[in-house]
Amino acid sequence: MNLDLEKQAIAGNEQALLELLKLHEDMLYRTAYAYLKNKHDAVEAVQELTYRALKKIHTVKEPAFLATWLVRIMINICLDMKKKQEKLIYNHDVEIASTDQQPFEIADIIAGLPIEQQELIYLKYFQDMKNADIAQLKQIPEGTVKSRLHTSLKRLRVLIGKEEL
C-alpha cells in the first residue's frame, strides 16, 4: 500500500486530506446514504465528515488506519443525525408490518449494533475488503477479524429476530 497521501494528510496537508476524501467519496457517501436514506442528509454528513476530519486529522497515528478512521467518523455522524431525524419524526410511522423489504432496511438493523461491529460489517461487505486487509488495517490477527465478524453477524441475526416480533 502506498500511503504517501495519508502521511501528508496526517502531517497537516489539507490538500492531501481533501484528495483522500475525494478518493473515497463513493464509499463514504454510500455509507451515509445507507444510514440516512436521502441525498440532502448524506451530503450534509459528508460536509460534517470533512470538517471533523480537518479538525482531528492530527490525532491519527497510523497512515494505514486513515480510511477506517473516516468510516468510523462517518458512522458516528450518521448515528447522531439519525437520532435527530428520529426526534423529528417521533410520532409518525408506527407501521412496520409490511412484509415487503424496504430499501436499506438491513442498514437500519446494522445501525443497532455496537459501532465497532458496524464498522467491521461496512468494511467487510460494502467495501469488499478481505479479512486479511481488515486485519492489517486494524492491526489484529486475521483470526480475530473472523471471530469478530462472526459475533457481529450473530448479533445482527438476533436483532433481525427482534424486528420480526
Binding site: K22, E25, R30, Q47, T50, Y51, P103, I106, Y125, L156
Partner: protein
C-alpha cells in the same frame, strides 16, 4: 426475514451501488467544510476575533488621514493605485513595495450582469497576498454588500481574507478596495494560478470567479533567529525570530512558562532603526496582539524588507496582563451557576440559560473580552458558539454568548482575551541584523 444470510448483505450492497453519487454537491460540501474549519481556526489564531465590518470601514477612514502628500502624489502616478492612495500610504512596507516595483499589474476586467470587476494589482509574498480591485456599476452600489471574498486554487481556499470592507464604499458607482489574504498555515506558490472570488448580495446574487496567474518571482523572506530574552515587571518574554517579507514583518515571541502573569495583548509594538526611523504595526494590529495560552504569538508589523538596516530596536508598550489563575471566568451551564469571576475585574457574569451567557464589562476594554473557551475535559468550544450579541449602555458593554452544546462537560472556562491592566514598564530590545 428470519435468517440473515449473505444475500441480505449482498442486496444492501447492490442497493448502495445503485445510489448515484452527487459529485458536485460533495465537492461543494468539502469546500464549505474547509471554509468552516478555517473560520474557526482563524478564531483560534486569535488574530481577528471579531472582524466587524463597521470597524474595518472606520479604520479605512481613520488611516487615510495619515497620508503624506508627497508620497500620495508619487503613488498616484502608478496606474491603478491612484484611488487607493489613502489605503496604502500610511504603510511604509507598501510604499517600499511600490517604489521597488514589487507588484504585479493584472488589469483583468470581467463583467457579470450589472457589475464590472477589475483586478488591478497584486502583491504576493510568503506572508500573504494583497489584491487591489474595483467594482463598477451603472447603479448605486451603496445598497450592495460583499458577502464573500477570497482567493482559491482549484476551488480550495488559499489562505483567508483578513480584511476588506464589505460595504461598497467609494463613489456611488465605483467601489475601490483591496483585500489582504493571510496564511492559515504556509502559503505555497508551487502553483501560480489562482481564482479571485467575490460574491455580492444583490438581487441576482452576482458571483465572480476570476482566474489570474502570477508571473513575477516571489521574494523569499529574510529570517533572523533572534533568541533573546527580556524582562518587564518581573515577566520574561523570549523574542524568538524575526521574519521579514515585503508585505509585512513578523516577530515571534513567547512568554516564559515561569511567569506569574498571563500576558494578554501588546497594545503598542514598533521598531526603530539606527537612523531613528520607526515602523509600526500593520492595520490588523489595531486589534492588538495576544499571547495564546500555550505561550506563543506572532506580531505582524510594517515591513522594511527593501531597506538594509543594521540594527533594530524593538519597543513594546502597554502590555495587558492578568495574574495567572485570575485570567478566566468559569461557569456551570448544567446548574446555570457562575463559579468564578476574578474579583479584581470590573465584570459581571450571568448564566441566562443552559446555553446562554451574559457578560457585562467596561467599554475601555479594547478588544474582545473573552476568547478561548474550554470545557472540563479541555475540549475547545469556540466552534460551538452560535452567536455573540453586543450591546452598549453608558460605559459598559454587554455580550451575550449563545452556544450549541453537544456533549460538553461543565464547568466551562472562558479565558480573558483583553483587559486594560498593564505590566509596569516597557520592552526595549536591540536586535542586530548582521
Amino acid at each position: 426475514m428470519t435468517n440473515l444470510n449473505e444475500q441480505d448483505l449482498q442486496k444492501l450492497t447492490e442497493e448502495l451501488e445503485a445510489v448515484e453519487i452527487p459529485k458536485e454537491a460533495l465537492q461543494q460540501a468539502r469546500v464549505e467544510a474547509v471554509h468552516q474549519h478555517r473560520l474557526i481556526r482563524r478564531r483560534k489564531l486569535r488574530l481577528y476575533t471579531v472582524a466587524s465590518v463597521a470597524a474595518i470601514v472606520l479604520l479605512l477612514f481613520a488611516t487615510s488621514i495619515r497620508v503624506s502628500p508627497v508620497f500620495a502624489q508619487a503613488v498616484a502616478k502608478i496606474p491603478g493605485f491612484a484611488p487607493i492612495v489613502g489605503m496604502i500610504a500610511y504603510d511604509k512596507g507598501i510604499s517600499d513595495i511600490v517604489e521597488n516595483n514589487y507588484y504585479e499589474e493584472l488589469g483583468i476586467v470581467v463583467t457579470q450582469g450589472d457589475y464590472t470587476l477589475t483586478l488591478q494589482n497584486v502583491v504576493a509574498d510568503h506572508s500573504g497576498m494583497t489584491i487591489f480591485y474595483n467594482i463598477k456599476s451603472p447603479f448605486n452600489l451603496s445598497e450592495v454588500r460583499i458577502t464573500s471574498l477570497g482567493v482559491s486554487q482549484q476551488d480550495i481556499p488559499w489562505g483567508v481574507a483578513s480584511s476588506y470592507s464589505s460595504s461598497l464604499v467609494g463613489g456611488p458607482a465605483v467601489h475601490e478596495d483591496k483585500v489582504e489574504i493571510i496564511p492559515v498555515d504556509e502559503l505555497s506558490y508551487d502553483n501560480m494560478s489562482f481564482e479571485f472570488n467575490l460574491h455580492l448580495d444583490d438581487a441576482a446574487e452576482t458571483k465572480f470567479t476570476v482566474p489570474f496567474t502570477l508571473t513575477k518571482p516571489i521574494k523569499q523572506p529574510k529570517v533572523y533567529e533572534v533568541n533573546q530574552s527580556v524582562a518587564v515587571d518581573g515577566q520574561t518574554i523570549h523574542i524568538k525570530q524575526l521574519e521579514i517579507s515585503p508585505l509585512r514583518a513578523e516577530i515571534r515571541l513567547a512568554a516564559d512558562e515561569q511567569n506569574t502573569m498571563q500576558l494578554l495583548k501588546f497594545r503598542s509594538v514598533r521598531w526603530i532603526d539606527e537612523n531613528g526611523e520607526d515602523w509600526g504595526q500593520t492595520r490588523d494590529m489595531e486589534e492588538g496582539f495576544g499571547i495564546s495560552r500555550d505561550g506563543e504569538v506572532s506580531i505582524r508589523m510594517q515591513s522594511n524588507y527593501f531597506r538594509q538596516p543594521k540594527k533594530l530596536t524593538l519597543v513594546m508598550e502597554r502590555i495587558e496582563a492578568l495574574p495567572k489563575g485570575s485570567d478566566y471566568i468559569e461557569v456551570d451551564f448544567e446548574q446555570q451557576k457562575v463559579l468564578y469571576v476574578p474579583s479584581e475585574l470590573d465584570i459581571d457574569v450571568q448564566v441566562l440559560s443552559g446555553n446562554t451567557l451574559e457578560v457585562t464589562y467596561p467599554t475601555i476594554v479594547e478588544s474582545m473580552l473573552l476568547s478561548e473557551i474550554v470545557d472540563r475535559e479541555g475540549n475547545e468550544l469556540s466552534g460551538n458558539i452560535i452567536s455573540i450579541n453586543f450591546s452598549r449602555e453608558h460605559d459598559y458593554g454587554k455580550a451575550i454568548y449563545t452556544f450549541n452544546f453537544d456533549n460538553e462537560v461543565s464547568p466551562i472556562r472562558l479565558y480573558m482575551n483583553s483587559y486594560p491592566l498593564y505590566l509596569d514598564g516597557k520592552v526595549e530590545m536591540n536586535i542586530s541584523l548582521d
